[in-house]
């Protein structure tokens, strides 16, 4: 790049950043959205979402925990200000990172996301981002765009194989369109975080952490390998933009409150994480969580599980070290002993396996696999 081009590029971006700063200072929350007339297209969209909300409310995947519901509703209310009465938060059991806001104010957060966030400020970054979508009525824009694309796709579909490709391109473009909305919501999210006293430097960490996980897989390409990254700005872009917007910021993180609220649920969330069957990513997540809670028996147990399931060279030894460390805390989850037994058995150490399994049965005599473990002990004897 020549010097002149470089200067032009730099000035263009300075102008953009200047504009961004100005936009941030000038952006104010719009007033509450009135419920649209049912006969209009927005009214139809709301009606559809109302039906979806009824389904969601009854879904067996909904996490029903009064403390968590109250905590999330409180944060949404604080960030949403006047929009508080119109926003309803639902936690859904899904071991992936996602949150979504419907045009009628139904906000879904997925349990896999809650597991990954480190503090209240990071949660606020997500909730504020989703509120940004809501107050800017992005769903309506998206629906209008999708309708235009659907009309094009229908016309293309009549043209055989060439039409099929055109139809796929049209449908794919609908996702690309939403990236601008995501950037807009990110910008609003930072404004809302700041005005509510949160440390905005936590926002880019969310994306940096997620990127680390996805990159744990060999040959990974976040833009292709994650639905979230495929339909959102790349997390590098997002992380960098948020870092620029958050620079110089201070404020509270609320790590202790967040951890305390999530604590009763975390074991189950970690079980779901391991069942997801992506042990390399789980290990990155658990390394990160253990960095701030190095003596957590449940985190040590689950990292051992991730290593045992990844089963790369040296993983058995590392898993053994984690299980042992969990036992040394004096309060290991009972399945730690079961896994220790299995590991010892696979390493041809039957006496150690028997001892570990006996410990497991003492800790969990009514476990669903107690009879099987009893038989395994008998086979050793």
């Amino acid at each position: 790049m020549r010097r002149r081009q470089w200067l032009q590029w730099g000035c263009a971006h300075c102008a953009m950043l200047g504009g961004l700063a100005q936009a941030q200072s000038e952006w104010t929350m719009p007033p509450r959205l009135p419920r649209p007339e049912l006969s209009g297209e927005e009214g139809g969209l709301w009606a559809m979402m109302d039906r979806e909300e009824t389904r969601l409310r009854r879904s067996p995947f909904r996490v029903r925990n009064a403390e968590l519901d109250k905590y999330l509703a409180g944060i949404a209310c604080q960030l949403g200000a006047d929009h508080c009465p119109d926003i309803r938060v639902y936690t859904m059991r899904a071991p992936y990172f996602n949150a979504s806001m419907a045009p009628n104010g139904m906000l879904q957060v997925w349990s896999g996301m809650l597991l990954r966030l480190e503090n209240e400020a990071q949660l606020a970054a997500i909730v504020a981002h989703e509120i940004g979508h809501y107050v800017q009525r992005h769903s309506l824009e998206q629906m209008r765009d999708a309708k235009a694309r659907a009309a094009f796709a229908t016309a293309m579909a009549a043209a055989g194989v060439v039409g099929l490709v055109g139809m796929l391109l049209a449908v794919g473009g609908a996702y690309a369109f939403s990236r601008d909305q995501e950037r807009d919501a990110d910008r609003i999210g930072v404004v809302l975080m700041r005005s509510n006293g949160y440390d905005t430097r936590e926002a880019p960490k969310v994306w940096a952490n997620l990127l680390d996980e996805v990159k744990a897989n060999p040959d990974s390409d976040p833009a292709l390998d994650s639905v979230l990254f495929a339909t959102h700005p790349t997390s590098e872009e997002r992380r960098d933009a948020l870092q620029r917007q958050a620079a110089q910021a201070g404020g509270r993180t609320g790590a202790a409150e967040y951890r305390a609220t999530l604590a009763p649920l975390r074991f189950g969330l970690l079980e779901d994480e391991i069942k997801r069957g992506r042990p390399a990513e789980s290990k990155v997540l658990l390394d990160r969580l253990l960095a701030s809670e190095p003596d957590s028996a449940e985190l040590l147990y689950f990292r051992g599980e991730a290593l045992r399931h990844r089963d790369a060279a040296g993983d058995k030894t590392l898993a053994l070290a984690d299980y042992d460390a969990a036992v040394r805390t004096g309060r290991p989850p009972a399945p730690t002993y079961r896994s220790l037994g299995s590991l010892y058995q696979s390493m041809n150490q039957p006496d150690a396996a028997r001892d570990a399994w006996q410990q497991y049965l003492r800790a969990a005599p009514d476990a669903p696999d107690a009879a099987l473990i009893q038989q395994a002990i008998g086979d050793i004897k």
Partner: protein, 196 residues
Amino acid sequence: MTSRRIALLASAVFMLWFAGCAQMSQVASGEVVVSGRMVVNLDKPWNQFEQVMGDGIPTWTQDGVTVDTLKFYVGLKNGALIAETPSEPKGQAPLAFRSTMQTAEIVTLFERLYSRGGSSFTLEKVVPHRFVDTPGFRFEFSSIRKSDDVRLRGVGWGAVRNGELFAITYTAPRLAFYPAGLPSATSIADSARVRQ
């Protein structure tokens, strides 16, 4: 939109078309040989899919594969998959059987299979159980299918014989369908033997 994403969407369209054309045939009651190795006795006829979603696992049903399924894993050798590994997203550990696996590890393979895509899996019970004239195991589980929130119940029988995995699993919605189909599935599992 990348060419890779177009290919994914195109393959999804193909799969839908393929699923619609999948051939089904009836398996009459009496003695039946599955995959040339496992002999079972049927107390009533079942429906069999000729081509099963590309995973090569024989699948039978009474009321349709989205309702109840009886799956046969016949003589899986060391390294064989109990289900294909989806190409996306990356990083998914393959569900590969290893002949050195302990029972708990084999059950974990099925747990992973039924947990795919965010479905839930809860192991209710696993006990020693003789299957195909070999010391093996029987496990019961419950699951909630992510795609439609349907609560399922399931049962599996399995054993490792000469380093090969033989197993049968049965799943159905927990109300009405599961209790209705369980006796027949159990009688099939109890009758299973390996053809010499």
